[in-house]
Symmetry: C2
Subunit: 350 residues, 2 copies
């Protein structure tokens, strides 16, 4: 923690966040859900998806682009699947609801596969896959949105750097969870480089003319991880998600220069019930063994410890749940401003 940072108790930060969203017109329950998902991201060190988003969300709600009183609506449903229209709800509000629906289906028929169309920013997606993992299921989620990444071989934006998350239950260990963008680097890392005044590695981004750059101030689009791999996954995710939900987000922008006039996301949210296939307690032990096995491998030169997916975040979580969440000066300043505007008490120390 640098001198310019303050450290805030997570419970106080969550209470503050919840109150902020009640003031935006959300129900107490929805505000609590939003607050929990945002502060969870901070607790795990995913600060780009944490409370720094509050001022942006407040503006988005004021502009009518994010709906604090959504009419979340089941469009289609079977024993194993559901298609939900999110009515531009706050992402966590609709996504937690759909994860609970697909977990119920998974408990009945082994798998639940949900599609959400017209949600807004969903926060850190690992939250949702872990909802399933902590209930004895594998959780899977995919996000699609408007173009921000150059497809392999292109010099303009054509796909979204759609992330995928997968989590599974464990016993002695925390449930392993992967939450990865299909780009080399997540967008938040570019913003961070700008804030820190440092350059980014070659191969992360292109400038607005489609030329490679290491200057994050020239950032216009992301590059795909593994070239055709990240690029191809992102395109296939749009097909599995947006096109399946009748809510195309890439082609209208590219072919018709359509401006959606708002930020919109579509999503796959799925759960697979472990107990349908094998004994859950045995399964958890096998996951533990796999974690032990991978962590026990001899490390490469210069590597102190091998991490499994989600493990670095768990370490941060354990620290922050006890010692508080450090917030940089800029975030604190922005939160103070919206707190004052909406007459909400700041957490102690802010």
């Amino acid at each position: 923690m640098t001198k310019s940072e303050v450290c805030v108790d997570w419970k106080e930060l969550q209470k503050f966040t919840s109150e902020m969203f009640v003031k935006q017109g959300c129900s107490a329950e929805d505000a609590e859900t939003e607050a929990e998902v945002l502060v969870w991201a901070n607790l795990r060190g995913i600060d780009s998806h944490g409370v720094l988003r509050i001022p942006e969300y407040v503006k988005t709600i004021a502009a009518g682009e994010m709906n604090p009183k959504p009419n979340i609506n089941v469009v289609k449903e079977t024993a194993a699947t559901v298609l939900i229209d999110g009515d531009f709800a706050l992402g966590p509000v609709v996504t937690t609801q759909v994860m609970r629906m697909v977990m119920k289906k998974a408990g009945e028929v082994g798998i639940g596969w949900g599609l959400i169309r017209n949600t807004t920013h969903q926060g850190a997606m690992g939250y949702y896959s872990l909802m399933a993992a902590t209930e004895g299921m594998a959780g899977i989620a995919i996000v699609c949105s408007q173009p921000n990444m150059a497809p392999h071989g292109a010099r303009t934006k054509g796909v979204h750097n759609s992330p995928i998350t997968i989590a599974v239950p464990a016993k002695r260990h925390s449930p392993p969870v992967i939450d990865m963008a299909t780009s080399v680097a997540a967008g938040g890392k570019i913003t961070l480089a700008v804030d820190k005044g440092i350059s980014v590695p070659q191969g992360w981004i292109l400038d607005q003319d489609g030329n490679p750059t290491t200057d994050p101030n020239q950032y216009a689009m992301l590059l795909p991880s593994g070239g055709p791999k990240g690029s191809g996954l992102a395109m296939m995710f749009e097909c599995l998600t947006s096109l399946m939900a009748t809510n195309s987000l890439l082609a209208p922008v590219l072919l018709e220069n359509k401006h959606f006039g708002r930020y919109v996301q579509n999503s796959v949210v799925a759960a697979v019930d472990v107990g349908t296939f094998t004994d859950l307690e045995d399964y958890k032990e096998h996951v533990d063994n796999l974690i032990d096995a991978i962590k026990g491998l001899p490390p490469a030169d210069g590597v102190d410890e091998i991490f499994v997916p989600g493990e670095p975040e768990i370490r941060i979580y354990r620290d922050r749940i006890r010692n508080g969440i450090p917030l940089p000066e800029g975030t604190v300043r922005n939160l103070r401003a919206v707190a004052e505007e909406f007459d909400v008490s700041l957490p102690f120390g802010m």
Copy 2:
């Protein structure tokens, strides 16, 4: 085609392949399935997964490790899921069967999610996802096997470079299909570099001491695509597939130095029915539009054309279905040997 290659009609090659597998004890139907999947790979230019595998499969069957008369058996089943024990069947025999089962389930409840344990080499996985795509469904498949890739940060093998394939239906265009390993390069590319006497790029492989090398003769393990991304996906795929099917393939090797004594694969095979969520004909048009949109982007310097997933293979397919499949001298020599051993007539030109 170099001078040392011969060019063979695909139908003759398929007939030859089928006859070879009948001689190994397969039923006529199973032999035909195996032949179709192998020759399909050759037609699409995925020669590493084509008929060059026949001599290896013949040996594997003789050793009792691949079962030409399997008792393929439903272990667990729900309306949406199925767990199959493959009894070490030829991969295509069990995988086509399970893809048909999950497509039937998808037609009924929107999704079918199948797990196969104890299958042998499944060939080119895109074949199975495309089975779904040509019937109006999205097809998904994942493969897990024994360790051949260093997890991110490790200097020994710890995960398999588990591939994933996704295909969806299209109308004017061929169905897009991604079929990608979680390693930087597929294993077949290392073998090819050895055969050609060329080096491989830095970052593809490690030698047996876990040091980076560009010499394919020193190849001991693959490296993951995107570092922690490919590595993490491979580990999570083992959790979704092998551990869910009660057939762990990584931890026993790493923790107990277990030798399976045979090559074994587990697999997810899934189908999502487009018509359950949206109008199929509209969907196909949206996929076409997305393909057009991405192909229409301005290309990067030095790029002639932007390809969508599966497109390079379709071009090769169109050429080879008409002009024949070129087989290198080594492959021809090996096929002649097994043809003679089992008294099977070679295709014209071989």
